[in-house]
């Protein structure tokens, strides 16, 4: 059956995935920032994302705003349930975002904004991972409202997903810098990316094994037909992407490691989607139940169908304008 709400679930999922990949490498660069060797490398790292971070972060606003628009009930349930991680993420993003500007405005306080850039990136990534884990665990709902406790989001599982996202984002960041730089910084990042890639795969393994035990429905889905087909296919695909990552790193390729790291993220995201479907908020709120009336979905869809391709177009153009390797010397004169 033609269901508007499913189209919208796909659009929201696309927005969130786009956010995770794009701001993922931004935040990853921030997480790796303290490892830079001296001011020149710091400036190069920050400058590699400075032209685009703002647009990347806008996908997060679309994720939140879109959820409010088309799945208001999901929005109304998820936000109070994840109150603390969300607030901490927002505060962290404030520090991260202003650091881009402030760092160049002061000599005395530069170290402060460097810490803000690193700390903001780290905390935002960790909180996003915790939010993901808490969502996978499931959110208790009664009478169209969050019915759980204030610390439900905190568990061994959510801390693990938090760490997984931090390491994964750092991998994205490292491979991004490999793509955008050359010389010693690139070599340094190739070295980090190797370890971060291994760490990411380890976390994916642990989280994947734990996930079926978070909810019996996940267990059935992944261990019985037809879902068990994915249980074979997905790890295979992730391993293929990992192979591309490591061979690309060993061969000193510019773009392949980044594309491989992005593929790993996309595959994990698809895996989460398989677990969730047809729910939008596990364990009990379905996509259809959470959706706004068709009139709202249709009105918002008309503009989305026109505007999102345009957004993708001019975003791609902006990336293209600022393409190529960053030459650290050109930041100075």
């Amino acid at each position: 059956m033609f269901e508007l709400s499913f189209i919208w679930a796909g659009i929201i999922a696309f927005a969130v995935l786009t956010y995770v990949v794009l701001d993922g490498f931004d935040l990853g660069v921030g997480i790796l920032f303290p490892l830079a060797d001296g001011e020149r490398e710091k400036a190069t790292m920050m400058n590699s994302i400075a032209p685009i971070w703002d647009g990347n972060e806008t996908w997060l606003v679309l994720g939140g705003g879109g959820l409010f628009a088309v799945f208001p009930l999901a929005y109304a349930v998820i936000m109070p349930a994840l109150y603390m991680p969300i607030i901490l993420m927002l505060l962290a993003l404030i520090f991260r975002g202003v650091a881009f500007e402030y760092r160049w405005r002061t000599e005395r306080w530069k170290p402060v904004w460097d810490v803000a850039f690193f700390g903001g990136s780290l905390v935002a990534a960790f909180m996003q991972g915790i939010a993901l884990g808490a969502l996978v665990q499931g959110i208790e709902i009664a009478d169209r409202a969050y019915a759980g406790g204030w610390w439900d989001w905190l568990s061994l599982f959510s801390v693990l997903t938090g760490l997984a996202v931090v390491v994964g984002y750092a991998l994205l960041g490292a491979t991004w810098i490999i793509m955008k730089t050359e010389g010693s910084l690139q070599r340094q990042m190739q070295n980090y990316a190797w370890w971060l890639g291994a760490g990411t795969l380890g976390f994916i393994g642990v989280v994947s094994i734990m996930t079926p035990f978070q909810d019996p429905e996940y267990f059935d889905r992944w261990l019985n037909l037809p879902g068990s087909i994915f249980s074979v296919l997905m790890p295979g695909a992730v391993l293929a992407a990992a192979w591309a990552l490591f061979t690309g790193l060993n061969a000193g390729k510019d773009n392949q490691p980044f594309l491989a790291a992005v593929s790993i993220f996309v595959l994990c995201f698809i895996g989460i989607g398989i677990s969730f479907y047809p729910n939008i908020v596990p364990p009990s709120l379905t996509i259809v139940e959470a959706a706004a009336p068709d009139k709202s979905l249709r009105f918002a869809l008309v503009g989305t169908v026109v505007l999102v391709p345009m957004i993708l177009g001019y975003t791609a153009y902006a990336y293209w304008v600022f393409r190529g390797k960053i030459d650290p010397a050109e930041g100075y004169h």
């Binding site: 208001p72 902006a318 304008v321």
Partner: protein, 469 residues
Amino acid sequence: MFDSMTAETLARMQFAFTVSFHIIFPAFSIGLASYLAVLNGLWLRTRDETYLTLFNYWKKIFAVAFGMGVVSGIVMSYQFGTNWSVFSDKTGPVLGPLMAYEVLSAFFLEAGFLGIMLFGRERVGDKLHMFATAMVAFGTLMSATWILSVNSWMQTPAGYSINELGQFVPEDWWQIVFNPSFPYRLVHMVLAAYLTTALVVGGVGGLHLLRSREDAPARRMFSMAMWMLIVVAPLQIAAGDFHGINTLEHQPAKVMAMEGHYDSHPDGAPLILFGIPNPAEKRIDYAIQIPQASSLILKHEWGAPLDGLDTIPDEDEPPVAIVFWSFRVMVGLGFAMLGLGAWSLLRRMRGRLYEDRWLQRAAIAMGPMGFVAVLAGWVTTEVGRQPFTVYGLLRTSDSLAPVAAPAVAASLLAFIVVYFFVFGAGTFYLLRMMNKPAGTVHLGLKDGPIRTAGITPILQTNPDAIPGE
């Protein structure tokens, strides 16, 4: 610190605090984006380098202010859910799509073209650069349009019905978007943003004129700002009058609170200029008033009857004292802006626009007053909507998320600390930039990278360079 307060009070404080901080940046960047587009257009047309100098000067200031607006705005888009989830669930079907349109048609546009506007001139050429600059300005106006439509719908809801779950559901999108107070509020706010920017630009121009009367960019920006004031301030006062009449029609209780009319006036209401609202006794103490003037302003008729708050049930009454005062602050500042504009016009006609020291000092003093007026205006309209979130239909107390007071208190405290720290530092940097003359080559560090804002000049040699110099 917040022990005795309810979750509702705390959540309201948190929203008021974060939204007040946030509105300061868009109020400035909406006007400044348009100003930048005008400056760039004038530079391309006349090739007068003063315009380019001003463009390069204000674009750096814009970038810092815009960055602060972005990060404080993201908080807003999530706070609806964290603290006001019942409101979100109920109004989401109507308001959500409007906000989604704001993100899609405004935020992406601004973010996408900002980089090219700030540092892409040499990479894309003059024409595309002008296009990018215009897109950023257009994006800020689109953003204002959608978010004011949302706010106006909360003030004057239309085009909806209520379903069996208690949700507002859309019936007619045209009526929802163009709800009765929207056109008035949009015009009033966009003009306010233009005035705010004109005052800042005028204040900065005045400051540098005080230091050097021959500073060409300072003369140019001062002159442009003063023209803007004398044109826009009267328009704004007229727009405010129309907006007030519209509010009287749709939200009479708000106007009663603004006017301080506790009692009905069947034979024509006086305009209370000043006085001390006394909520306990339901009267204005020490009132200085002009007989019949309120009826004249609101009904444009001598002796027209006006109802007072005695016709409104107590539980539906907005907090009178706050609305009464904030309204007077806004109106007073509006007339002060008009006065500054008129003064500058007189001096200009005598050919002494750049000579009058006191005019420059007054412009500096008025520099931040646009922000004060914008905040006072928003306090008037938002507090005046209380005790409802959706006027007359959804009470604020019924909009709250199932949040515990300690959680809201902790996050409120965190927001206060972080905002004062982060935006305090940002404001300090902005003022330090404005303190330098427009001709300054570097507004940032002396030997730092040549990037002053969100964007990196990767290939560009020097964005501060002025071609032909």
